[in-house]
């Protein structure tokens, strides 16, 4: 059971005399085991929305419920993955994975065995005693996955987790995430500005627009599971991608003049 309910969430930021309405009345229901992407241009408030679910930012209005309980602060029920892996450089890969159990006083031989197993699953068997600096970018991200999954979160929140990787590594990580998700269907909310990534991974794509930030459309991605990276070349995929991209392109670009809309591309 892990079900996320956003009810009319609003957020404003005040800079001196100016007020920016970052989010206005955003509602979204993410069902248990569902993979939902928040897709939009930069500045549409998608990261702020994710951080509100994570409990790092408090909403000014509305509610966020996880399994019916309101969110007010960060917690281990919501795992968080950032654009950078954020592994602690002073800890080995294994000790990074065991950070959660240690922080919560639940470290034990069983936890250690589970950490070793998780590292095996993410393909880091044999790298348990390496330091993060000795790993490649993709490996660091997989270690961050293992660390997040060690806390057994109900939901995984991801903020453009592969945004800083090169194209090949990013494709590898997307396939890795698909495989992982096929084994265990955890609930995921992913923030991205990559249309292809959103379509490949998600059950639904929530398209967001800026000024004020809101969800303009939620597009179901009815592609069969399990998915693979090769699927991105099928006509169905290409069609869905076009559909999603058109939806994003209709949203105003940041800094665009009022009333002006993008019509080119496609």
């Amino acid at each position: 059971m892990a079900d996320v309910e956003l009810k009319r969430v609003s957020k404003r930021y005040v800079h001196g005399r100016r007020t920016t309405e970052t989010l206005r009345d955003v509602s979204l229901h993410v069902r248990d085991g569902e993979f939902v992407s928040l897709l939009g241009r930069s500045g549409c408030g998608k990261t702020t929305l994710l951080r509100i679910v994570g409990g790092f930012v408090n909403a000014d209005g509305g509610e966020v419920l996880v399994d019916g309980a309101p969110v007010s602060q960060p917690g281990s029920d919501r795992g968080m993955l950032f654009q950078h892996p954020m592994l602690f450089p002073w800890l080995t890969v294994l000790d990074n994975t065991l950070f959660g159990p240690r922080a919560t006083g639940r470290n034990s031989p069983a936890a250690r065995a589970r950490a070793m197993e998780l590292l095996q699953i993410v393909g880091l068997g044999g790298f348990e005693f390496h330091y993060p600096k000795q790993l490649s970018g993709g490996m660091m991200h997989r270690a961050a996955f293992a660390r997040a999954m060690m806390a057994e979160p109900k939901i995984l929140l991801m903020d453009e987790p592969f945004g800083a990787l090169d194209a090949l590594t990013r494709a590898g990580m997307q396939q890795f995430l698909l495989d992982l998700w096929n084994r265990r269907r955890f609930t995921v909310v992913l923030v991205t500005h990559d249309v292809e990534e959103a379509v490949l991974l998600s059950d639904r794509v929530a398209v967001m627009a800026a000024g004020p930030g809101q969800i303009v459309e939620t597009i179901p991605i009815e592609l069969p599971r399990p998915r693979t990276y090769e699927m991105s070349e099928t006509p169905e995929f290409v069609q869905l991608k076009r559909r999603v991209r058109q939806s994003v392109e209709q949203t105003p670009a940041r800094g665009a003049m009022v009333g002006m809309q993008l019509t080119a591309g496609g």
């Binding site: 602060q73 960060p74 950070f99 922080a103 490649s136």
Partner: protein
């Protein structure tokens, strides 16, 4: 796949996890990782300097102006166990006196600086109040306070230890604040989302992540301590390496001046080495 390759390949095939190396083994490995070619080049520089010194001393031929390295080392070794000046202490004794002042002054100054810096990084009003005071005091050379400290505390140990601390505090405050500010907020957020309490995240993540940079601050502060102690020992002291150097200067015993300088260099190098070792232990892989 390209990204599967680590920069350092695993020593064991995947699936066979080694037991974690013991602490002693890890320590040994870290020492074994010493870069010998770097040490060789460094030694070369020192040897070249000694040869140049020797040549210049021979050409000048005036042991009061510039004694040879041999004469200097002779004086140094002799007075390690003989008092200088005659009613004073041995060079070992004077070194220990200076060292003790440094240790006490540096310790209290570093602790006060770390505490103040941590408070400033964590509590905004404290930062706003203290920051201008630090910025006002930081450019002042600690030496400017010596006359005042003598008026207030005489020429005993108190003014020396206070002066060292006064020099150390601003250096530590600035580096501790910078070190804590530089820790990415996402480290703390990652810890919180792994179930850590705010207190645990502060101690085990934010402060832990800042430790290497704080130790670099300690190294800078240690340099400042030597500046302070030698200066104050030259002005108001009856023992210590600064006092020995000034005495030797008054009586034109140039080899003793060099001996004092050499001893300061050696002790300072050892203390800095200890701090560098500490940093290595705290920041594996640099």
């Amino acid at each position: 796949m390209g990204e599967e390759q680590a920069q350092t390949p695993a020593a064991t095939p995947p699936g066979i996890a080694l037991d974690e190396p013991r602490f002693g083994t890890r320590l040994l490995r870290r020492f074994a990782a010493v870069d010998w070619s770097r040490i060789g080049m460094g030694t070369l520089g020192i040897v070249a300097l000694v040869i140049a010194w020797w040549l210049v001393a021979l050409i000048i031929g005036d042991s009061v102006f510039l004694p040879t390295p041999a004469a200097t080392v002779g004086t140094l070794v002799h007075y390690l166990t003989h008092p200088y000046p005659s009613q004073g202490d041995t060079l070992i004794g004077n070194t220990l006196i200076s060292l003790a002042r440094i240790v006490v002054g540096f310790t209290w100054g570093a602790l006060a600086g770390i505490a103040l810096g941590a408070l400033m990084a964590g509590v905004r009003p404290i930062r706003l109040i203290v920051d201008p005071l630090i910025e006002l005091g930081r450019p002042l050379p600690p030496l400017a306070f010596i006359p005042l400290l003598i008026v207030w505390f005489g020429i005993g140990e108190a003014p020396k230890i206070i002066l060292i601390g006064v020099g150390v505090i601003p250096v530590m405050v600035v580096s501790v604040v910078a070190a804590l500010d530089a820790v990415p907020e996402e480290y703390v957020e990652a810890a919180l989302s792994l179930g850590a309490t705010r207190r645990y995240a502060l101690l085990h993540v934010r402060i832990r992540a800042a430790l290497p940079a704080m130790i670099t601050g300690l190294r800078l502060a240690m340099g400042m301590s030597w500046t302070s102690i030698v200066a104050v020992e030259m002005i108001a002291a009856t023992a210590g390496l600064g006092y020995v150097i000034l005495e030797a200067s008054n009586y034109l015993v140039t080899p003793m001046i060099f001996s004092g300088i050499l001893l300061i260099a050696v002790v300072a190098l050892v203390l800095d080495g200890l701090l560098r070792l500490l940093r290595r232990l705290v920041a594996p892989m640099g």
